[in-house]
Symmetry: C2
Subunit: 332 residues, 2 copies
């Protein structure tokens, strides 16, 4: 149905080889005269290149696949923007796939659609791959890199923030303002990222001579609901004066629940969020955060895929952004 280079060749009275060369602009391989003939024929036929066919023979693609764990996590968009920016600089195209939230079957589906097609590389944004899917990924010949997630033992390529530092600095920011009874809400200790954040949090407290109680840490999956549940668990009479939200969403959950319990932020309760997406400045009061550089992560991810030798791990910087959710505690 659609026009092919064969049709163009016939119409222009040349061979398909010449058409291919003209269209690919392999100059010094054709004359001006034929070039114009070919181009005229191409536009007349409304030719659309079939890249799949071309990729089949050249065995090389220019699309990067970004696999995202869920539509719910909002930081993904910042990473994707970084990916796009860097990719476009190098004439690469980006496609995005959603892999669902801890849904092995959907992960597999997303992975399959990219592995089975020619892609130049795969970026996995904060996705906890099920073991069988990891095997799948490794079995394919496609280069890959995890973003915004880290791993313990296995030597997987990843780019992320220093999660220990994230936990440490969020906690320390509160300590510096005089807080000593500080909670950590909505963190997931099943994975490396969460474990590191807990470790950083604990160390910051210990460095200030504080021994955290077990109930100060409320586990969860970084979601709004997890933040809410954590705050419910702390209760209106909590001894805590400050809470670190494991994510922006969790922090907002904490804040809204605190309000429902009659606690004012930051008057009664200070909050530091982890992530620092635009959500932090949308809510009232705006949330002070330990902000990750997601955009940079995206850029680094593309660079990692492009580099031959695989420098396996990389850490992107974080910074504390002061907004309105932390108050200085007067020492009593």
């Amino acid at each position: 149905m659609a026009a092919t280079i064969k049709d163009i060749a016939k119409l222009a009275g040349v061979s398909t080889a010449t058409v291919s060369r003209v269209l690919a602009n392999k100059s010094a391989f054709f004359s001006e005269a034929t070039a114009t003939k070919v181009h005229a024929a191409a536009t007349e036929l409304g030719y659309q290149k079939n890249t799949a066919a071309a990729e089949l023979v050249t065995r090389h693609s220019n699309v990067i696949a970004a696999v995202v764990n869920s539509t719910k996590t909002n930081f993904a968009s910042q990473i994707i923007e970084g990916i796009q920016a860097e990719a476009h600089q190098h004439e690469l195209n980006v496609i995005i796939l959603y892999a669902g939230d801890a849904d092995s079957a959907q992960q597999r589906r997303a992975l399959m659609t990219v592995i089975e097609r020619p892609v130049m590389g795969i970026l996995l944004l904060s996705v906890d791959l099920a073991p069988e899917n990891l095997t799948l990924l490794q079995g394919s010949q496609v280069p890959y890199c995890f973003l915004s997630i880290s791993f313990d033992g296995e030597r997987l390529p990843y780019i992320t923030s220093d999660d220990w530092q994230v936990g440490y600095q969020a906690t320390q920011a509160l300590i510096k303002q005089g807080h000593r009874r500080i909670g950590l809400a909505g963190v997931d200790r099943d994975f490396h990222t969460g474990r590191q954040r807990v470790l950083g949090y604990t160390q910051a407290l210990q460095d200030a001579g504080i021994t955290p109680k077990a109930e100060w840490i409320q586990l969860g999956n970084y979601s709004y609901d997890a933040g809410q549940a954590a705050m419910q668990a702390y209760g209106a009479q909590t001894e805590l004066t400050a809470i670190v939200g494991a994510s922006d969403m969790a922090a907002i959950g904490v804040m809204n629940q605190a309000r429902d319990l009659g606690l004012l932020v930051p008057a009664d309760l200070s909050i530091v969020a982890i992530d620092g997406t635009e959500l932090c400045s949308l809510v009232q009061p705006q949330l002070t955060s330990v902000s990750q550089n997601f955009y940079e992560m995206g850029i680094a991810g593309v660079q990692q895929l492009r580099s031959i030798e695989t420098l396996p791990q990389k850490i992107t910087p974080i910074k504390l952004v002061n907004r309105q959710s932390v108050r200085m505690l007067s020492p009593e």
Copy 2:
């Protein structure tokens, strides 16, 4: 490098045709014995199918491309979930592309990467295609459908809410609570969607015997900033008692700016948002909204692509969701 069906054929001692049929599970075309041989060989070689090659010969693909206008608009994720759900039911896969915000070059890039490859159809989420890119899209043989956007004259296939009704119902909801001086903030009158919302808004006022002043309508691009700017234009001394935000983001912008101007929501100013994404229940007070059924839009979009005959336009339902940002105005 990677194993092909040729390798499997050699290892299993059969022809590639047989391998293909076994792998595609075209039963009644092979015996149990060969099937097991082939499967054994396939796993031994770590075979990964090259779908691009298969699609080349079958001339038919099972991936749907969703083109999104920007990473910024948050409702997209709900549409995408709808798309995924419906697509997966029919063994279709979904890839997502970002087309940038009113950036013709990036639109073109996104469009090209999908048109040049075998895709089964293209869904365009709220993207205002530049004229040249629309021509491009129409020139390709790929079926397509616009989502969450509508058009005036041209007969383009689209699925969206009734934007006139959206404007009407949002305004009417405020009128019913006794408001008579009502603004509309952040709406874009350059496109059909925005124009319809303005028309609905105006009609609702007129039906209540109210003649809207020109300055009640503040134009913008549906963004947080647009909402903020609109509220700044209204000013602290505004005669308005209520405002319709052209989107969730715009409504939040209005609300936060109002607070900065010393106005309390909803005590001094009532707000109705348009869209009704989860953002509405994240902020404080939670925003009353005219909610669109984005999930349903995604489902309908996939169905539209799958149906041969193209029933060009479809309207998805909306509903008013009462939350906390509107107060009843006592008649004086």
